[in-house]
């Protein structure tokens, strides 16, 4: 069950590197806390999913690297090679020399069609290397020009050419202020397009991860490297192998199956990730965890819409069963209960069989369309992840992202009303109508999620 990763733009490529590195480091970790046979099965499964084997034993990432300027890709290629543990394929890259200028229209309407054939060829070669291909994992940002615009174009192409394969887009939500001025335009164009062509959007907010680095990891001078490593840790804990059947060593589950569980309806595709625990190595040495404690925190994070395990609002409760919810979600209220469509919890580590997830099956957490038995899934493995004796990650399709989405749409709308920067997009074929279409789609998404 192999996944082909497509890394787009500076962000996508920087993150992609950290993800492969984290996956392999965890796979080689000696603190798996399980039998050798089990560990070997885990390693084999991880390798098959994300790496192909080279003659001299160095695994090659199943990845395609795309960027419109060469610096970042060159850097990632050499970083991987320097690790000595793995590397990227020599011919798995596509580069140009001019960049996309943070212009979604340039990425989508100029680079896309111009380089479509070359990029799709490289992807095809990578897919052909897989004995059992399970789908695509596309990493990109929505604020810039290449990841966002070209990313949207490539995803559309993948939908056309590989309509039977699963596609998940890992999208970086930019900081609220200060990365790119036209980030709100680029974001709404990206999201509205991907909503049509992708199967699931896994969204990570820079602001949230930044807070994890500051508050939980105690990092003083936070760099993008730190941010990307936290992200890679979260993704690793989602994508590493888990048992496909109870109490067995079989790690044959398709990791992209999570989409089938979490996206029951095409109008609701926004997924987010919360993991627990997350701390600096120093603190880790002095802390012990119980499954009961971890799961209680995780559940409260879910229902109170907390981004991390600190500062969780304890005053939010699910509505009493049988009664209608106290109020439909209002975007202006701070205190509200986060309704879920579907949740997936993945547990890794010691005594995982004893973990009690009943709290997540409470019907009050969910909308009425799915029975909790269908809305909630849990995957497990005894094998611990990356130095954490016990760890839990929640992938959720819920109202988590409504507020940020609403904010981006609002800001983009205010800017659009003044027509600022629009000439930069119309220059390359994205007209005001295209913007209006995007606004309409996303207002629809916001409204749908609000009315859960």
């Amino acid at each position: 069950m192999s996944i082909v990763t497509v890394q787009l733009g500076q962000c996508g490529n920087q993150i992609g590197f950290e993800v492969f590195d984290a996956l392999l480091s965890d796979s080689h970790s000696s603190q798996g806390l399980c039998s050798m046979r089990e560990n070997e099965a885990y390693q084999a499964s991880c390798k098959e999913r994300f790496f192909s084997e080279e003659e001299n034993g160095v695994p090659i990432a199943r990845a395609v690297l795309v960027d419109m300027e060469p610096k970042v890709i060159n850097q990632m290629l050499s970083k991987a090679a320097q690790s000595g543990q793995w590397k990227y394929g020599q011919h798995a890259c596509f580069c140009q020399k001019q960049g996309s200028g943070n212009n979604w229209a340039y990425g989508y309407s100029v680079h896309g069609p111009r380089h479509e054939e070359s990029i799709m060829n490289i992807i095809r070669k990578e897919v052909e290397k897989c004995d059992s291909f399970s789908g695509f994992f596309i990493i990109m940002s929505m604020a810039g020009g290449t990841g966002s615009g070209l990313g949207a174009f490539v995803t559309q192409n993948l939908e056309d050419q590989y309509s039977n394969s699963l596609k998940m887009n890992q999208i970086i939500w930019p900081y609220g202020t200060g990365e790119v001025i036209v980030q709100n335009y680029n974001s709404i164009l990206t999201l509205s397009h991907l909503y049509r062509s992708s199967d699931a959007l896994l969204l990570h907010e820079n602001d949230a991860i930044h807070k994890i680095c500051a508050k939980l990891m105690n990092i003083k001078q936070i760099s993008f490297s730190d941010i990307n490593q936290v992200l890679a840790h979260q993704l690793g804990s989602v994508f590493q192998p888990t048992y496909s059947a109870e109490s067995s060593f079989h790690y044959r589950r398709n990791p992209l199956d999570l989409m089938e569980h979490l996206v029951p309806h095409p109008e609701f595709k926004m997924l987010s990730v919360r993991n627990i625990p997350h701390m600096s190595e120093n603190s880790l040495a002095y802390t012990t965890f119980t499954w009961a404690g971890l799961l209680k925190h995780l559940r409260q994070m879910l229902i109170s819409n907390a981004k991390m395990e600190e500062g969780i609002d304890r005053h939010v409760w699910p509505p009493l069963s049988g009664l209608p919810p106290l109020s439909k979600m209002s975007l202006n209220k701070d205190l509200h209960f986060n309704t879920s469509i579907a949740n997936l919890v993945i547990l890794r580590g010691k005594d995982v069989q004893s973990a009690d997830v009943e709290g997540f099956k409470d019907p009050a957490l969910y909308t009425s369309w799915l029975k909790p038995v269908n809305a909630f899934n849990v995957w497990k493995t005894q094998r611990a992840f990356s130095k954490y004796e016990k760890s839990a990650v929640l992938v959720s399709n819920s109202q988590f992202l409504v507020k940020p989405l609403d904010m981006i749409v609002g800001k983009a709308w205010n800017m659009f009303a003044s027509k600022a920067y629009i000439h930069q997009y119309t220059k390359f074929g994205i007209e005001e109508e295209d913007f209006l279409d995007s606004f309409t789609s996303l207002e629809q998404v916001v409204a749908s999620y609000c009315n859960l």
Binding site: K71, G99, N102, I181, V182, N414, H423
Partner: protein, 384 residues
């Protein structure tokens, strides 16, 4: 590495250009000790696309630069045209400089993607400030020679004592910092085309005021280096602007911060949060910040910052220019020299000045919105 072409026009342009190449080589030599021709150098030493144009020179020079801008647009419509433009200061020695400037400005208005206006007076003021610092004789205030934004110490050519050298070095440093992210690696890259994309919300409003900090580094290691945050504060002070302008008290349309050296995203964000309240941004761009992080600092510094502001504070410069033009034009002084040249007619002048008037009016309209409260506009409503 995006690749760019430098077009150096006229005496001013060529003198600045010379400094620039020297300093660029010095910068690349510091990073690339073995002198191997690498990707970073290839961005510059094949083709580099920043045009350095002098506005206040003689008649022929004025025409050449505007012609260049238009020709380049015709020949290479897809390539971004960045112009670093030296504006004449009040006591300029070329009498007809207002004519040249206004005529050139019309072309820049229409054919350049981005213009970085600089005036000699500001450069001179910066030099005086540095001289004061260096010559103050205070204990422990020796400055690292290579770090001076005005010096070419350590560069290939011999040091001259000519008056414009120090000033030209400042502009050369501006160009280096502008292109650093395209040449060297960093965690958040920014190419020249991104500058244009983010800082030019409407085609005519493409004038960016620049400021460089720090201006020097002290050699005495016992004196703590000026705090990082001080560097950010300085970038917004009117003493560090390369144009006589005060962005802090005018209206921002957009602002870019290009940081070099050991500075991380958290430092950048902290300073933006800190400085934001004292700056005024236009209502539709309250978070109008574009940022970049390049790992390699300039020679002699541990970090540096180039700020580019699209701000209504350029308006006074343009108004002064127009006034000086009108003083000459009303009397038709020296006009015959220009009209003798084939293709030049009075209409060129009237068109040029009305182009500038229109630009000034645009800035006026924006300024009028300055203290108005920001309102959220009603959104599309969806029937459920």
């Amino acid at each position: 590495m995006t690749q760019s072409v430098v077009v150096q026009v006229g005496q001013c342009g060529n003198q600045i250009g010379c400094c620039f190449w020297d300093l660029a080589l010095r910068e690349h030599a510091a990073v690339n000790q073995k002198g191997i021709y690498d990707e970073a150098i290839s961005s510059f030493f094949r083709n580099v696309d920043t045009r350095v144009v002098g506005d206040g020179g003689s008649i022929s020079k004025g025409k050449i630069c505007s012609l260049k801008a238009r020709v380049l647009e015709d020949e290479f419509p897809e390539v971004y045209r960045f112009v670093t433009s030296i504006y004449p200061s009040g006591e300029d020695d070329v009498i007809t400089s207002p004519y040249n400037s206004i005529l050139a400005m019309k072309e820049l208005n229409e054919h350049a993607d981005c213009v970085l206006p600089i005036d000699n007076q500001s450069l001179f003021d910066i030099i005086s400030k540095i001289d004061l610092m260096v010559n103050s004789g205070k204990l422990g205030t020796t400055v690292k020679p290579k770090s001076l934004v005005t010096s070419s110490s350590g560069a290939l050519k011999k040091q001259h004592k000519k008056p414009f050298d120090a000033m030209n070095n400042i502009v050369a440093n501006l160009l280096l910092n502008l292109t650093s992210s395209a040449r060297f690696e960093g965690s958040l890259n920014m190419d020249l085309n991104e500058i244009s994309m983010n800082l030019v919300p409407f085609p005519q409003l493409h004038y960016l005021v620049s400021s460089l900090t720090p201006l020097y580094t002290l050699t005495d290691v016992n004196i703590p280096p000026r705090r990082l945050d001080q560097m950010f504060s300085d970038a917004f002070s009117k003493d560090h602007q390369l144009l006589r302008a005060d962005p802090k008290h005018s209206l921002y349309l957009a602002c870019a911060l290009m940081v070099r050296g050991n500075v991380q995203i958290s430092d950048l964000r902290r300073n933006i949060e800190r400085l934001k309240p004292s700056l005024q941004f236009v209502s539709w761009n309250q978070e109008g910040w574009k940022t970049s992080l390049c790992s390699v600092p300039p020679v002699g510094h541990s970090h540096s910052l180039l700020a580019l502001a699209n701000n209504t504070c350029v308006k006074p410069t343009f108004m002064e220019l127009k006034e000086r033009f009108m003083r000459l034009y009303k009397k038709k002084a020296h006009l015959h020299h220009y009209l003798q040249v084939e293709g030049m007619e009075e209409s060129c002048f009237t068109e040029a000045v009305s182009s500038l008037s229109a630009l000034i009016q645009e800035y006026d309209q924006l300024d009028a919105t300055k203290n108005m409260p920001v309102q959220d506009l009603p959104r599309l409503s969806i029937a459920m």
